[in-house]
């Protein structure tokens, strides 16, 4: 009886663990609800209209990346447009950027909410 209970508990733990794994991360959730409609599931965007995410941006232009999300793009000379997402808080922004990083530039340094906090105020 006791053995069975232990087995059952073990099974329960495995199932819980699995559910945890399967649940989309916070970053993925934000990506799917906010970015996916334009940038697409794979982050490849759409032709030249919505360019694919570039891994270099995650290495060298981290501030520019953060500011683009916060300020959006509205360039009538090129016709490039992206809405601003300045309502995302630092943690959400870090999570979603890390999700995109996992899609396109896995080996680069992860974003932290501290990094976002220190950089986003300089966006203009």
């Amino acid at each position: 009886m006791k053995k069975n209970l232990i087995k059952l508990l073990g099974l329960g733990c495995i199932l819980c663990f699995h559910a945890q794994c399967l649940r989309p991360s916070q970053g993925e959730q934000i990506y799917l609800s906010t970015c996916n409609s334009c940038h697409m599931e794979d982050g490849n965007g759409l032709a030249d209209l919505i360019p694919a995410f570039q891994p270099e941006g995650f290495e060298r232009n981290r501030k520019k990346l953060i500011c683009t999300v916060v300020l959006g793009i509205n360039d009538s000379s090129t016709g490039q447009f992206m809405p601003r997402y300045n309502t995302l808080n630092d943690a959400d922004l870090a999570n979603v950027l890390n999700y995109i990083r996992s899609l396109k530039a896995g080996s680069t340094l992860p974003f932290t909410d501290k990094e976002i906090e220190s950089l986003r105020d300089d966006c203009r």
Binding site: S37, C38, M40, G45, L46, A47, D48, L49, I50, S76, T78, G79, F81, M82, P83
Partner: protein
């Protein structure tokens, strides 16, 4: 061996069943009967500027099959997915002289001829003679959208107004609505592409 005719008959009927081609696409929208003749819902005459700055009218689609949708270039919600699917349709039918795509912009303030041309360029269809991006004057938007969406309005979720349903409408050679689909779903667009081929064949001389 005695059973052979029986089995053969079954196979014969199965063959007949498979061979039967699907009937013609229905004509959608409200129709009325005038003096004994059925008058079907038809897209009225129109005249807009396209991405080349040229006037595009009902004569530009005379005797042609076309897909129509409503969008605007700055739309960050469903439009990119719709454009992605329209690109598939364009790829398959761009060389057919009897086929067109009409994307109606509902943001005439921003979507000038130049903005529409830039958008088309970025989609990689900047030189297309098949896909026309049309700037609809503000005071005509709801009327023309109503004419196109009359048949599908019941299904639409009216989140951002009826022009934002993301539907593709399939229009025949006589400007009648023959089918529609959700322009954000690739499997529905697969079906629409088959129906485009059906319509194009309908008027071919046999």
């Amino acid at each position: 061996m005695k059973r052979f005719p029986f089995i053969a008959a079954i196979f014969f009927f199965i063959y007949l069943g498979c061979k039967q081609s699907p009937g013609p696409l229905p004509i959608l929208g409200e129709s009325e009967i005038v003096d004994g003749d059925t008058i079907f819902h038809q897209i009225p005459d129109f005249s807009y500027l396209d991405q080349y700055g040229q006037r595009f009218t009902q004569d530009s689609v005379r005797s042609k099959v076309y897909v129509s949708d409503f969008f605007f270039t700055k739309c960050p919600t469903i439009c990119p997915k719709m454009a992605q699917q329209l690109l598939r349709i364009h790829q398959q039918f761009e060389h057919n002289p009897d086929f067109r795509i009409l994307s109606h912009s509902i943001d005439p303030k921003y979507d000038t001829t130049e903005a529409l041309k830039k958008y088309a360029d970025k989609l990689g269809v900047g030189d297309s003679r098949t896909w026309h991006f049309l700037s609809v004057p503000k005071n005509e938007i709801s009327a023309i959208a109503g004419k196109y969406l009359a048949a599908v309005q019941q299904d639409s979720t009216l989140e951002e107004g009826f022009t934002h349903t993301g539907h593709f409408l399939l229009i025949d050679q006589e400007r009648r609505i023959r089918s529609f689909c959700d322009g954000t779903k690739s499997e529905e667009v697969d079906r629409l592409m088959k129906e485009i081929s059906l319509l194009l064949d309908e008027k071919k001389p046999h």
